[in-house]
Every structure is written in structure tokens, then in C-alpha cells.
């Protein structure tokens, strides 16, 4: 029997997420954002959350809706400020949300390290900049590096294109972004997909996230948003 649970509703998929959890939220802007899982999480009521994501929400959908509902204590992200991040901007200016800015590549690699069992790693990114202040530096073969630690999630909420009944995942285009990395870095990975197909129907050579990383899957109606004002 498959260890991955295929669930009927998004509400079931996010059941049990505790107050104070650290949640990795997929998406780059709105591409790959798990809208339905986040809406269900808002209904579920978990609060005092730490969110790890690339951005801090766009307009009032997805992550921005969770911020607006005041469920987030702290956010780790690379690029909070965007043309339509007004929900975050206001919370930040009022001192109602804590922000840790992490360079995008380090954000991804720190989650990769968590999923791969790496204790820490030396990255050349941010050497000599304000974001390296207070961090251990080492020169290796004449190059300067900064020590970076893994970022683990209690949960990952991500979206993918298709899953089979075992939880093997394929993604669509650049909506893949953080999904495969976050899936490896959380204790419980919850995925919304556009379609669940029978096991054996995905091309085994094309599976991006193997089922071992996936705990819960729910099929939802695909919702498409683009960032207004992006240029």
C-alpha cells in the first residue's frame, strides 16, 4: 500500500498543521503557488507560522491572503518587495511581521541541504556584503565563502502538474521552481496537483519528484494568475 495519502479535499490535506509551524511554500511570484492549500490553511486556522518562500505574496491571493489573515509571524524570502506586495509591505512597516532576507540561490541550496542531509555548506554568494555579516567565512583554495545552514520545514505546501497514486510528481514549465527542493526539505510534504493519474501512467524517466518525498496529495482545479504590472 502506498505510504502517500491521496485526499479528497484541500481541507483534509492541511489537517493537523500546528500553530508555530515552519512551512515551506512553493511558487515564484504566482507561478506554482499552491493556492488551494493556502486557502484551506486559512480556514484551518493555524497561526504564528514561519513561512519560507521566494516572495512575500502578490496582490491578495495565495500567500498574500495568508499574510492578510495575520497567521504569519516571520517570513524568510529572497524578494519580498514587488509591484503588488502591498499586503506584506503594510505588515512590515507596522512591525507586524519579521523578515529575513536570504539570497535566492542560498535559499534554494539551504533547503536542498536540509533534504540531502548536509549539515552546512560554504557558499560564495554574498561574500563581502551586508547579508554575510555575522556569518562564518572561510577561504578555500583562494576563494572566499560564507557558511550557510540548512532550512528545514515542518511542512511543505507545493503544487505540481500531475501525480500518480503513489505520489510521483511531474511539474509544468517554470511552475516547477521551488517544488522539487521543498518536497525534500519538509517533514510532511503536501501537494496540490492539477490531475491524479493511475500509477504506471507517468513516464518513469520524466518523474521529477519521486514519491518517497510526498506525503499527501489532493487534486484541485488549476487556477491561473499572472503578476499584474510585471515588466
Amino acid at each position: 500500500m502506498a505510504r502517500t495519502s491521496i485526499l479528497a479535499t484541500s481541507e483534509q490535506a492541511v489537517a493537523g498543521i500546528e500553530d508555530g509551524s515552519t512551512i515551506l511554500v512553493g511558487g515564484f511570484g504566482l507561478a506554482g503557488m499552491p493556492f488551494d492549500l493556502i486557502d484551506a490553511l486559512i480556514l484551518q486556522g493555524a497561526k504564528d507560522l514561519t513561512i519560507v518562500a521566494n516572495n512575500a505574496g502578490n496582490a491578495e491571493v495565495g500567500l498574500a491572503a495568508l499574510l492578510k489573515a495575520k497567521r504569519v509571524r516571520k517570513i524568510l524570502c529572497s524578494f519580498p518587495r514587488q509591484v503588488d506586495s502591498y499586503v506584506f509591505d503594510e505588515l512590515y512597516r507596522e512591525g507586524k511581521i519579521e523578515l529575513e532576507v536570504v539570497p535566492q540561490g542560498n535559499l534554494a541550496e539551504r533547503m536542498r541541504a536540509a533534504g540531502a542531509g548536509i549539515g552546512a555548506f560554504f557558499s560564495p554568494t554574498a561574500v563581502g556584503t551586508p547579508l554575510a555579516e555575522g556569518k562564518e567565512e572561510r577561504t578555500i583554495n583562494g576563494m572566499r565563502y560564507i557558511l550557510e545552514y540548512p532550512i528545514r520545514g515542518d511542512y511543505a505546501l507545493i503544487s505540481a502538474h500531475q501525480s500518480d497514486a503513489l505520489g510521483n510528481l511531474v511539474y509544468r514549465k517554470t511552475a516547477r521552481n521551488f517544488g522539487p527542493v521543498m518536497a525534500t526539505a519538509a517533514a510532511t510534504t503536501i501537494v496540490q496537483v492539477n490531475e491524479i493519474i493511475p500509477t504506471g501512467y507517468l513516464d518513469a524517466e520524466s518523474i521529477v519528484t519521486p514519491s518517497i518525498y510526498v506525503d499527501r496529495v489532493v487534486q484541485t482545479e488549476a487556477r491561473h494568475y499572472t503578476v499584474k504590472g510585471a515588466r
Binding site: 515564484f28 511570484g29 504566482l30 507561478a31 506554482g32 521566494n54 529572497s78 524578494f79 519580498p80 518587495r81 514587488q82 509591505d89 512590515y92 512597516r93 523578515l99 532576507v101 536570504v102 539570497p103 535566492q104 540561490g105 542560498n106 535559499l107 534554494a108 541550496e109 533547503m111 536542498r112 557558499s123 560564495p124 554568494t125 554574498a126 561574500v127 563581502g128 556584503t129 551586508p130 547579508l131 511539474y171 509544468r172 514549465k173 517554470t174 511552475a175 516547477r176 521552481n177 521551488f178 517544488g179 522539487p180 527542493v181 521529477v208 491561473h224 494568475y225 499572472t226 503578476v227 510585471a230 515588466r231
Partner: protein, 220 residues
């Protein structure tokens, strides 16, 4: 080439984009930063069959990125790093974020072109934060990109709105990366950065002497 004073006026950003596009060797893997550098994509030379022989990387997870999507082509699952919907090119590929930045950090990209607030002759770059109190900090991929290609070029106007040069002896704004920029393309000239400082490669609508008089970081 040390000086090209054939242009009577400084270049527009579109003309500058064309200059950069023609300097990128055929076959290169290139990342164009958000803002002015994205214009370079419109000027990349095409071969006889109409194919652009430069492969564009977008850090949100794609090689072989095409132009901006129009009308029915818009697909919310396919955007560039500026979150603008784009199209595929034949032979494009998708990958996740850790792979995308590993590709960058690992030195596999040939050229990266970035915008800048300030650049110094030693290759220091400031392009992520003006350092003004009250600004919300946001770095995105800027620090990864700054160290993430064999050649990192800057494309910028040479002078800020207040008339001060953006090529400076030492950056005063928060740094994005150190010793990372190898060439600076501006509306008034192109400068190669190296151990001897900033060397004038070309000028536009101004003589090298006039330029050195205006920009303290430049020497003849």
C-alpha cells in the same frame, strides 16, 4: 578598440542594448538581469535561418527562454525572473531552483548582464539596496548572479539623476558582490575593469578626455 567617437550623442538604452547584444559571442549561455538588460534579448543577432544562437537562462528555472508572450500565448506557468509571461524556444529545458542556481554558482553560464546603482573599478557592484532607511530589503537572485557567470557585465546609465557618476572609486551603497564585474556598458562609454582599474574601451558622443574630466574613477 579604445575610442569610438563616431556617435555624436550618447546612446539610448535601446542602442546600448544592441551594442551589448553584438558583443555576446554566438553559442553563449546568458542571463539577462531584470530591468534594462532584458532589452538586450530584442537585439541578439539572428543567423540566415532567423535563429538566435545565444541561449538565455532565467533563474526561475529555464534555459532557452523566448520572447515575451502575447495574447493567447500567455501561460501562467511560464514566466521569466521578472514574472513576465514568456514563450519557449526549440530545445528549451526546465529545472528546479537549486539546479538553476547551481548552474549559475558553478560557473557554467558564460555571460550575465546586470543593472547597477554603483560599480567600482575593482569590480565591486552595488545593485540591490540604496541603503536608505525605511526601504524594505529585497535581494532576489542579485547576489547569486553577481558571482554567477564567467563574465559579469553591467549595463547602466553612466550618471545618476542628480548628475553624479555611477562608476565610482569605491561603492558607498550596500554591496551585492565584490570584484565580480568585468565590463561596464553605459550610454557614454564602455569600460573594461581589471587590475589596472577601469580602462576605456569605447566612448559615445564624448571624447575620452572629456569623460575622464567628468568621472573621477576613470583615468587615461
Amino acid at each position: 578598440m579604445t575610442a569610438d567617437t563616431s556617435t555624436r550623442a550618447p546612446l539610448t538604452m535601446d542602442q546600448l542594448a544592441a551594442v551589448i547584444a553584438h558583443d555576446i559571442p554566438e553559442g553563449s549561455y546568458v542571463n539577462l538581469g531584470i530591468g534594462q538588460p532584458t532589452k538586450i534579448a530584442d537585439h541578439l543577432p539572428k543567423d540566415k535561418s532567423g535563429t538566435v544562437n545565444v541561449i538565455l537562462h532565467t533563474e526561475n528555472g529555464m534555459l532557452g527562454m523566448g520572447r515575451k508572450a502575447e495574447g493567447d500565448e500567455v501561460d501562467a506557468d511560464l514566466t521569466n525572473a521578472g514574472k513576465v509571461p514568456v514563450v519557449e524556444t526549440p530545445g528549451c529545458s526546465y529545472f528546479h531552483h537549486a539546479d538553476s542556481f547551481a548552474m549559475m554558482r558553478g560557473g557554467h553560464l558564460d555571460v550575465c548582464v546586470l543593472g547597477a546603482f554603483q560599480v567600482a573599478p575593482n569590480g565591486d557592484l552595488a545593485n540591490w539596496s540604496t541603503g536608505k532607511p525605511g526601504d524594505i530589503p529585497a535581494v532576489g537572485g542579485a547576489m547569486d548572479l553577481a558571482i554567477g557567470a564567467k563574465d559579469v557585465y553591467v549595463m547602466m546609465s553612466l550618471f545618476a539623476k542628480d548628475g553624479t557618476p555611477k562608476l565610482v572609486q569605491a561603492c558607498t551603497m550596500p554591496l551585492t558582490g565584490i570584484n565580480c564585474v568585468s565590463r561596464v556598458y553605459t550610454d557614454y562609454g564602455v569600460f573594461d575593469l581589471g587590475p589596472d582599474g577601469a580602462r576605456i574601451r569605447a566612448t559615445f558622443g564624448i571624447t575620452p578626455d572629456e569623460l575622464c574630466a567628468k568621472v573621477a574613477a576613470l583615468h587615461r
